[in-house]
Symmetry: C2
Subunit: 240 residues, 2 copies
């Protein structure tokens, strides 16, 4: 069985300038793997409409699902929603259901729903809303693109809202073995295993911890019994 594929698009100058370190991609990667969806590509672009439109189109055509993070909010530099609408050639405006969510929320908290905040109710035509239990302003799904906030707590809540609605595949299982030997010494046995088990994947990740070199070897696959057999074989080979 081939799992569905996904791509992520992270939008924001602050990550590319090194001011902020992104955590959303790592979170999404783990959640998708558990759900049996393969994250095949991620792109980070600046707050630039042309870059967003081009990336959304390319990723939407190339993968089953696209998840975006960042650039939705009340300020002048939040241009994601407009760029997504442009990418799909649809109109965008304040929508009644999104506006009602914000009105109720700000009435409860005694805050003014000003023009800036109302921008967060701008939704491309034909999109469905994504629930935001943290700060209410919704994300949205249009075609196969899920548009979510960049603030990690809100992003994570939106991912939790969206994932159960998607059909996943078989979760990818993995086992790892840590060996105190350089990658160069286990390369040959690993190459042999990759030939013997064509439907498993083998990765080797060298580490350098306090001056000690070694390698983590990871075996991944959808068939747990096969992963077990390969791990046993691997342990035998590298411990000779």
């Amino acid at each position: 069985m081939i799992n569905p594929t996904a791509a992520m698009l992270v939008i924001g100058d602050e990550i590319l300038s090194g001011r902020t370190r992104d955590s959303n991609m790592h979170h999404l990667a783990g959640e998708l793997t558990k759900h049996g969806i393969t994250l095949a590509e991620a792109r980070f672009v600046a707050d630039d409409p042309d870059a967003i439109v081009a990336s959304v189109r390319a990723l939407s055509q190339g993968y089953d699902h696209v998840f975006t993070s960042g650039g939705i909010g009340p300020t002048h530099d939040d241009i994601t929603a407009d760029s997504i609408a442009a990418a799909f050639g649809v109109s965008i405006d304040v929508r009644a259901d999104a506006r009602a969510l914000l009105e109720a929320h700000y009435a409860r908290t005694g805050t003014e729903l000003n023009d800036a905040r109302l921008r967060m109710a701008r939704i491309p035509a034909g999109a469905t809303l994504i629930d935001n239990p943290i700060s209410i302003a919704p994300g949205f799904t249009i075609e196969n693109v899920h548009v979510m906030a960049g603030v990690p707590t809100i992003f994570e809540a939106m991912v939790a809202s969206v994932l159960p609605t998607l059909t996943g595949g078989a979760p990818l299982l993995s086992q790892s073995l840590r060996v105190e030997r350089g990658e160069g010494e286990i390369a040959a046995p690993l190459g042999q295993l990759a030939k013997d088990f064509p439907d498993l994947s083998f990765g080797s990740y060298p580490f350098n911890h306090n001056g000690a070199f070694g390698t983590n070897i990871v075996v991944r696959g959808q068939d747990g019994a096969k992963v077990d057999v390969a791990m046993t074989e691997l342990a035998r080979m590298v411990q000779q």
Copy 2:
């Protein structure tokens, strides 16, 4: 003055599966900003030759510099060097100068230079070597693409080797102001400032720290005096 642009390409299944969290992009972003080079895009792709070749070509044509991380090493799944050679249509083979570096290093440490390790001396024709003071196996530069290891300590050492050889621009200066007000309240003054100071950039980054909402506002530009003036004006506006 317009600064040179750069893109990053991070190669590796282990990051897209969520097993490992990348730190190289955040490091490179900060170093480039200090050096006056604008990181405009980053892409993460799997250990897949077609994906690497397509990304290298697109990024090499789109930006002044490209920095890659990961997928060079002795094992069967390190296919970066071959893919880079394919992207530029050049041959690749073990090269004498790279082989000499490895021979001297492994002789010193009493380790066998086996076939797997010798793979690390495979260099595309026409490339120049990038110094690796940590584990010796070199990176390389071909055209405008700098190919570096994925292990963070080695990646960082290679960045330090490459950056002084590149012409930078004016470093981007930034100042930030933390306000205990929601993004929706400072959106209007920020929009006005963006109009008044067209050669500065203004970003607002909402935070949610232990239940308290607020916004970090960042003003960036190459002219420090202008950034000062804008910050003073900003403080006056949001503290009214």
